[in-house]
Each structure stands twice: as structure tokens, then as C-alpha cells.
């Protein structure tokens, strides 16, 4: 029920969904300008580039997950809700993932072609992005919960959470590079899946505790 509320809230304001996608498109366009149009160079850095941009866009949007509810007081009501906070936070983060991560994964083939990533790697890219952005949203939620009470939390959240994003980035890029070079992709995706299960189990717990502290401050 809460998930429906979050999704309707997000859909109610389409521009909010568009922002990460536009951000993604612009930054992807920057890369060829920065590195030069030669296609083999682009192909070489394409997996890493796409993953880093996905990571940054997830980070930028995760700050506002709780902020709007915190400002108008409905976050306090959330703490008093009869259902456990773990589920409510999970609903919040799933809504955030669907709106940013999933869409990114669906749209990524377009950007992959722009960076002329070999076609057979696009499938792996989408799957790894879908899995990876879920982990990013869950971990980003922890940072958002801790900094929601602060006025100038935006920059701080990146310092807190980026080190925790590194394993996801490493294995996500490795999965796509393996796909490019034709190596088996299974193990990398399995690792991403393992990280996802860990993030699902522990992420919302830390986020819930973080919310209780930010509300109390």
C-alpha cells in the first residue's frame, strides 16, 4: 500500500523521473567529447563509464528520497506507523529504485550503442545495471537517512556512501567487460546478486535506525 503511495507520488511529478535519465544522457554525451570520437577507445571505456554514471545518478537522487517527507512532517508519522519501519523503508527504497535504477537499466542499451559497446554485451549490461542499481538504492538509503536532518547534507552523502559503492562498481564493470571479451558472465552476476541479498537484509535496518536518529535530533 505504501509502495503504491510512493509510486503515485513519483508519477505525479514526471519531471522528477526524467531528471536522472537526462543527467545520464548528458554525461554519456560528454565522454566522447572528452576522450575523443575514436570508436575503439570509447568501446574500451564504455562499461566503466556507463556504470560510473549510473552510480552517480543513483547517488544524486537518493538524497531526496526522505527529504521531501521529512520537510512536511510525514516522515514522523511513518515512524509511528503500526507496521514495522523496516518494511516502510523497504517500500520507500523500492519506489526509488523503480523510478531511477530500473529505468536506467531499460534505457541503457541506447547509451551503450552511443558509446559503441559491442552488441552482445548490452544484455549483460542491462541485467547487471538492474541488479547493481538496486544495491545502490539500498545503500544510498542509509546515507540519505543519516543526512536527512541536515541542511547541507547533499555533498556529505557522497562522501559517506561512495566508498560503499566500490564493490558494486568493480563487479558490475567486470561483468560487462567479461561479456565484451566473451568470457562467462555468470559468476559476476552471481556476486552482484549476493551483494543485493546482503543489501536487502541489512540496508533497511541501518536506514531505519538512521531515520530514528535524524528525527530525534
Amino acid at each position: 500500500m505504501l509502495l503504491r503511495r510512493q509510486l503515485s507520488l513519483a508519477i505525479r511529478r514526471p519531471i522528477e523521473i526524467g531528471n536522472p535519465l537526462v543527467f545520464f544522457a548528458i554525461v554519456v554525451a560528454l565522454f566522447p567529447l572528452g576522450i575523443g570520437p575514436a570508436s575503439e577507445q570509447l568501446a574500451m571505456i564504455a562499461p566503466g563509464a556507463i556504470w560510473i554514471i549510473a552510480l552517480l545518478s543513483s547517488l544524486l537522487t537518493s538524497d531526496s528520497v526522505f527529504r521531501s517527507d521529512f520537510d512536511d512532517g510525514s516522515l514522523e508519522q511513518l515512524l509511528l506507523a503500526p507496521q514495522p519501519l523496516y518494511l516502510s523503508v523497504l517500500a520507500y527504497l523500492c519506489a526509488h529504485w523503480v523510478v531511477t535504477g530500473l529505468l536506467l537499466a531499460l534505457v541503457s542499451p541506447v547509451f551503450a550503442l552511443m558509446l559503441n559497446l559491442p552488441a552482445e554485451a548490452v544484455g549483460t549490461l542491462m541485467v547487471s545495471l538492474a541488479l547493481g542499481t538496486a544495491v545502490l538504492s539500498l545503500v544510498g538509503g542509509i546515507g540519505a537517512a543519516l543526512t536527512v536532518g541536515l541542511k547541507r547534507g547533499g555533498m556529505l552523502i557522497s562522501l559517506l556512501i561512495l566508498p560503499l559503492y566500490i564493490p558494486v562498481l568493480i563487479f558490475g564493470t567486470a561483468a560487462v567487460q567479461a561479456a565484451v571479451s566473451g568470457a562467462p558472465v555468470g559468476p559476476f552476476l552471481a556476486l552482484l546478486g549476493a551483494m543485493l541479498s546482503l543489501a536487502i537484509a541489512l540496508g533497511p535496518l541501518a536506514t531505519a535506525a538512521g531515520l530514528r536518529i535524524s528525527i530525534d535530533a
Binding site: L2, R4, R5, S8, D69, G73, S74, A81, Q83, I215
Partner: protein, 205 residues
């Protein structure tokens, strides 16, 4: 409205002490809120009324010493209206974050009428005035199942008719065995014994 045995305590506080910025607001404060009681918290600005209410509600769990226990999750109406600008009044209430159960449509309609918002059910909330936002929030009084109500300055930005309507609702709730803790500067005209807890001298009467 489940009727509870009168005298069953809904919230217990044992030697509660709170200091803010080095100043001790109150200490070793003990009292119990029983069903069928109406409490009014008094005290100047900054005397810690809101903090005490938040501690009672369980929003603040750190930063004070002493024990607070409560029978069930209370209904907390704070300064902020907890109303999303994007949603209409009806959506705000039907999907309300703390409302576990989903209310039938006519229940919401009836609640909005009681708060004087009939005709505004479907206008997006950002078109409503601040007073109307608070009325949407206060409409939850007519919907909530919680027996313990914690109302923080409920009468601000509400016109005379609304205030009397709310006081009558509070009286009804207390009569049916609920308990209400109100922080307000206006005296309560309710035909019910009002327990006063003044935080200035931490006196209980």
C-alpha cells in the same frame, strides 16, 4: 472506538529528566496517563512541551534519562501538517503514512465534512490554505483507531467554529475511554476534568 476499562494506563513515565543546551528543563517527572483522562500541558515557550510530547510518542528515544512505556502506538499530531502538496485531501487521508488500515471512502468523506472541508476533497493540497492543511491533518482524529492522542497545539490556525468542533470531538473521545494529551495556550472548554501538567514548575495538579 474500542472502549477500554477506565483506569487502564495507556502511557507511563517514570522520573523523566530532560536537559536542553545545558539548561535542565525538568527532572524526575513521573506520571501515568490513564484511559478516560484529559491532560493539558502548560508552560512557556521552550519549556519542553513539544519535547515531552515527542518523548511520549516515542519519536525521541535518546537524549533523556528515565523510562517511558506506552500500551500502544499513539496518534501524534505535531506542528507539521504531514500533508503532501501533490496529493488531494482524499488521497492524503486514504494513503496516510501512519494509517495501517485502509479507510472506506465514505468514512473519509464524513471525516472531511466534520472538519469543514466538504467540497475540497479532490483539489490538490497545494491549492489549500495552511489552515486547511491542518484541518486535513486533524481529520485523522475522526479516522484513527488509536486510544491515546497526543495533540501539539491543535487549535493554531483554526477558526472558532473549528475549535469548538475539535473540543467536542476530544470530549467524546475521552468519554469513550480514550486519553488525550494536549499542549495549548488556550483553556479547554470541555465538560470533563482536565489534569494540568505545568512544566514551568514541573507541578502536577
Amino acid at each position: 472506538m474500542t472502549d477500554s476499562a477506565v483506569g487502564e494506563s495507556l502511557a507511563e513515565v517514570k522520573d523523566l529528566g530532560l536537559a536542553r543546551g545545558g539548561r535542565v528543563l525538568f527532572e524526575s517527572l513521573s506520571f501515568a496517563i490513564r484511559a478516560g483522562e484529559l491532560w493539558q500541558l502548560e508552560g512557556g515557550n521552550g519549556a519542553g512541551k513539544t519535547s515531552l510530547l515527542r518523548i511520549l510518542a516515542g519519536l525521541s528515544r535518546y537524549g533523556f534519562d528515565g523510562l517511558v512505556s506506552r500500551a500502544e502506538v499513539p496518534l501524534y499530531v505535531g506542528h507539521q501538517a504531514a500533508v503532501k502538496g501533490l496529493f488531494s485531501a482524499r488521497e492524503n487521508l486514504s494513503w496516510h503514512v501512519s494509517g495501517g488500515c485502509v479507510f472506506a471512502d465514505e468514512q473519509i468523506e464524513q471525516a472531511l465534512q466534520r472538519v469543514g472541508l466538504c467540497g475540497f476533497e479532490d483539489t490538490p493540497s497545494h491549492a489549500l490554505s495552511a489552515g486547511q492543511h491542518r484541518r486535513v491533518n486533524l481529520a485523522r482524529l475522526f479516522l484513527s483507531e488509536a486510544r491515546l492522542w497526543l495533540l501539539d497545539e491543535p487549535f493554531t490556525a483554526i477558526d472558532a467554529a473549528g475549535v469548538s468542533e475539535l473540543q467536542e470531538r476530544i470530549g467524546g473521545h475521552v468519554a469513550r475511554g480514550g486519553a488525550v494529551v494536549v499542549t495549548s495556550h488556550q483553556p479547554l472548554h470541555v465538560d470533563h476534568t482536565v489534569h494540568h501538567l505545568s512544566l514551568d514548575g514541573a507541578r502536577i495538579s
